[in-house]
Symmetry: D2
Subunit: 410 residues, 4 copies
């Protein structure tokens, strides 16, 4: 084991599990470590500092280990600048480019540490000299322009994963283990309501990501109420969500089921495709609202209350509605803007759109994920937000209960 590097960690690295992960990773990858300095935080408020040498038999393994440790927040001690290489062509990153985590990140440039703007996962970092100074920011691969100065390798980069909060408590916490449906549902909805109210009081922005199941389950009116009362700042959804919401207003049905009496739930109904053709004929949702065609529902309230929405297209769409962004890259860019603005995100009964939004979120954004399928909740929470609540519950009872709690408190 002649190859070695020195890394250091600091913070509440023991109880946050960071040190455990670092040591485990070295061992999993066949390396070894030597703790050089270890100043344990003797009280719970004190931070711990650890500096260790990491060894491996060959340079390749060592590099892989350092790569992993880096992503866990163990940074190289060497104070060097990040290496920059110009992109050889549009959409082509330099070989060995640094691919980001979703944690707050800094890059060393000209001897100083720059915060990376709009951090999100799996991006390149571009350094740009501007009139107001040097900026470091993320770019997805398809946005790279020829000549962009892209950070490569891993030296000169610091990652700072969120730590376990000192005070226990609050529903947003480190997710420990799996997601269970066996939790007191009404108490948890109360906590989501409080967090939503608090976010708005603090001037934050709330993004709702919603799937068509929300409408089928009868929760459209309650989401519309929250939009009308100003609790929702942005909506991220798809053609299906909007169509079902509008169909409900036009025909009183969703996928052919009468929402009040639940009678006649049959496949043959054509309300869905008629709804789309009517909105196409009007020219779009806003025009259909202006024409008096659409007079209620979530989309109606968005138009009436200037709540911006992104309808991202999908290959399973009928139509689609004219408002739908059919190009996936364009749609991602629109979603990315929403995600970067959001302080709290409610992911309601949609895996596809929730993953798309989640891909653009920093690990510090508050996320509430609600689905009746535990696998969906687990998959979404697994993406590593440190401020996440997962609930396995019925969207058709969750949204009404949430709206009641939020609006009764107001």
């Amino acid at each position: 084991m002649t190859h070695s590097r020195t890394v250091e960690l600091e913070g509440h690295i023991i109880d946050s599990g960071m040190l455990q992960q670092v040591m485990g990773t070295v061992m999993d990858l066949g390396g070894n470590f030597n703790v050089e300095q270890f100043d344990v935080g003797v009280h719970k408020e004190e931070e711990t500092y650890c500096r260790m040498d990491v060894f491996a038999d060959d340079e390749g393994t060592l590099k892989e280990i350092v790569h992993e440790l880096h992503q866990l927040g163990a940074n190289l001690t060497d104070p060097v600048d990040a290496k920059l290489v110009a992109a050889p062509a549009d959409q082509v990153v330099p070989t060995g480019f640094y691919s980001t985590t979703n944690h707050p990140t800094q890059v060393r440039h000209g001897g100083a540490w720059l915060d990376v703007e709009n951090i999100e996962m799996d991006c390149a970092i571009v350094i740009e000299e501007t009139e107001s100074g040097t900026r470091a920011y993320t770019k997805v691969l398809n946005a790279i322009d020829e000549g962009d100065l892209v950070v490569t390798d891993e030296a000169g980069i610091r990652v700072d994963p969120p730590e376990r909060p000192r005070d226990s408590s609050g529903p947003f916490g480190f997710m420990q283990g799996g997601v269970s449906s066996e939790r007191p549902s009404e108490s948890l909805i109360r906590q989501v309501a409080d967090a939503l109210t608090k976010t708005k009081e603090d001037g934050g922005k709330v993004l709702v990501v919603a799937g068509p199941a929300l409408i089928h389950a009868g929760a459209g009116d309650d989401l519309a109420r929250l939009v009308r009362e100003g609790y929702i700042d942005m909506i991220s959804a798809g053609n299906g969500f909007a169509t079902h919401d509008i169909e409900r207003g036009l025909y009183g049905t969703s996928l052919g089921m009468d929402m009040e009496t639940m009678e006649h739930p049959r496949k043959g109904h054509k309300h869905h495709i008629y709804t789309i053709s009517e909105v196409i004929r009007a020219g779009g949702i806003a025009e259909a609202v202006d024409d008096g065609l659409i007079t209620s529902g979530v989309m109606y309230e968005c138009i009436q209350n200037d709540v911006p929405y992104v309808l991202a297209g999908s290959i399973r769409d009928d139509g689609p509605l004219p408002d739908t962004i059919t190009d996936a890259v364009e749609a991602q860019n629109a979603i990315r803007e929403q995600a970067h603005e959001a302080d709290m995100v409610l992911m309601l009964s949609t895996l596809l759109h929730s993953v798309a939004v989640g891909n653009c979120l920093s690990s510090t954004t508050k996320v509430v994920c609600v689905d009746i399928n535990p696998a969906t909740v687990t998959q979404l929470l697994d993406r590593g937000s440190s401020q996440a609540i997962g609930m396995v519950t019925d969207i058709g009872t969750f949204v009404p209960s949430l709206a009641d709690k939020v609006l009764d408190d107001a």
Copy 2:
């Protein structure tokens, strides 16, 4: 195809699907049929009559076909008495004994048709001469006594599966196809509430089958309210349900999670096993209520309001509580009595106990099955009640919402 028998069907046999099943069954099993008489119900109120000869290449196949048809409600036309054979020993049925469906059934004896009492699936039918006349009733295999006169073969037996209701409507209906979570939840809960209220107004009895998840999900108080207010006549549960309910009263936790603050959900908590040991020490639940140990919860309300309960044991039980019936056969017998008395059954978040109760129900009993796992709901509804509602929803929001609707209406 020289072997044949004649069967007849009558009723709303087309729109109920009975005729489709009968014809399909004959074909699936390699037989053929010849419709001898067919009087179609030309209006929706009119019944249809069909008499057909069924053919097969060999007697074995014919017998199998007739067996299947019989269970679908196509009865042999031959007016013969059922064949009776005495059971050769305790728990031993005669070879070829007739095994029941869960549909209303009649047996021909002495030239007259007797209704089979306490019909349930997979039982033997015993004919007994009593002072008040001849009775036909079901017995499970392990209840057979030597000498019991047991119906064998399938002649002289009429099965009458429930038909599709003439009026559309009502949440209780023929389950068509799968169970979806995408239905307007609040509307459906309203319909369950109305059915519950109606059952009580009509003097019917309501049986709740409940699993521990109901307590974990925070719905214990609401079920307790329904018991206290007289809406629940019987409870069928297990050692786990009762223990979690009592633990909640004793420690404010369920499986170690504080039900109000949701803090400290950890595995190490020993409240569960302490709760059991305390109740054992008191001598049982009623004694623990008398001693002032248990002062709230579902079991408390059962004791205070004389609502009988069956706690059936299971091999995964801790303890168990002294009230638990540990012998499976004894427990089944206790459950059987509950099932036979019930006019409406709410199956809440337990597969094991719901299957046990469902096994003892006639196909004419009203059943509401609620679980967050669609597979559980499907499996339970699949057992063939014709009066069933299935809901894939969160028990932790369902029960509070149901209790509010029922009690607000009162």
Copy 3:
């Protein structure tokens, strides 16, 4: 009930359930019926003919009933031509346009019945006079051109849903009720293998729809074998599937997990994003194969064996690869072409792409749907193919077993 229309049904309408559905639909929608003529098929080979008057209290209800019956295969007796209206603008269908089912359909035009080409669900039917005669074919809404002659209302249209096969048997059958994982898996895979071999022997085309889970589960090599040996004619997948497949070849990992040793399954691995950047640098998958970058896997075999593929984009994609069609409408068109050519479709572990393909299929195409999640299988089979096998099983054992069976037989 003064409003009435006459409809007729013929075929094996009893055992196929068609008559049951028709009668049930009339009743559900509040109508009534009068059977005018009923010629029952007395043997199983004989068809049944039924003509009935349908009544409703008002014209609106009657229209709704007739609309539903029509989709079930009960056609109006009136021999009139279909009504044609010119589309007022691009993408805008005339009001009241006829929206298709996925069943074989005929349109009456100039007194003759035309088969509708490329039937698929939720499309408009366009009538076009061509040099070779009059054609009727489907168009999706977004493909409508101004002036297209579009069929409106429901007169002059005949729908012919597939019937229950006379012989029992074969794995492709009418799906009755739910999908269970409790079936003899190896026997069922054997039947899929036989159907695949048979389709190829008959000169048919096989389309595989595959999700990334297939690669994660370790089944990539086996799918590649089937492609190499000529059993797969087309592949429909997404950016994720292709990337994971190529990553496996480049790094021996999929999402960072070593496929042989299963060691080091950690999130930090960046192989996924590196793979994409390498293929972008090469210019595409074919170029990367030419360059010797990609030397194995499903995509490699597609390039080497001229098996065409469609990679449809999605908002959750990283990259994407240059081969990905990012526009949803363009991607749907590419998928539509595949679907129309296919005689047998294997849907393997992807809901999104399977729904997209399924939307374009006629009800007469053979479909095999495999997923470990029963809800996915149910949802896909529910779309109404009459030639469908659903299997709830592990794709990681299914594909190897299928490849062994198919190739061992060869």
Copy 4:
């Protein structure tokens, strides 16, 4: 914070996560800590030692904290004997009795540390003076006899949770996070096969816990092969498993489905109940084998090869078979004996029986859990074995593949 106690931890406490859990627990419960001594293991082979004072505002909180820490392996430094109190009555433990974890545990008695025999969760520890010396062993609550000397409180007890293995590798490892179906299935089955073979080579005992789904899925023959070839030492199942296995031999069906052709899967079949009645008539499974009634299958091989089985009763049983232990407490005792003897446990498609067996296992027993439902696998692995493999796969392909791999290697 005037109340304090001193605890110590040693071992690979950082990378095993023990230290993280201990610190987190103190903070969650509102306490504080002061690290008195911390000797970090500087190499990966070296152990770490930590002694810390734990503080709380009141004695109750402190006690709760110490209770939690104790279960995590942080033991009090005070070298006192465990406190013993005589049980006041049969089945009644003394107040404050120590309830066990499933980790290896020692009790201090007479100044010496005794290993607790047959450790399993949620038991009492009884100390008994015997001729061969003092023994400490577990008793479940219902086995307590009046006068038993039961350990109370937590002083004088040491818990030693299994540590993360030093070498990476092997499929049995610390379960990190959730269970995914997206893993290379064939590789994982290979590793299970190797572990099974290794266990037998080492003279270990293999216990199979099996549910009826195994038979429905067509895997009965393959499990029977493994029994016949001597790879299975014990079987733990229920009445349903045995009945379906025997039904398959008697009628070639399981729940009425023909296992070869998969034809005629209908509900009406009575093979299940006939099977039970035939075995009752014979007097039991062994007698039915002797009589030549049962000539193949898993139960047949058990009888022929003297492989002991436990059939535990349940309230959903039909019959049951005479071999079934209907009393839950008796059945638990029989299961307990199996569990204590087993070196490796395969839990195959049964939640109920797997939980029952799992409740009796030490955290050091090797466990393989296979189910198609991820929630079942998660729930079983969550019970805390440190030697566990979870697979979300199809039992109908898993068992044949496992049998092939094990027997081909032999």
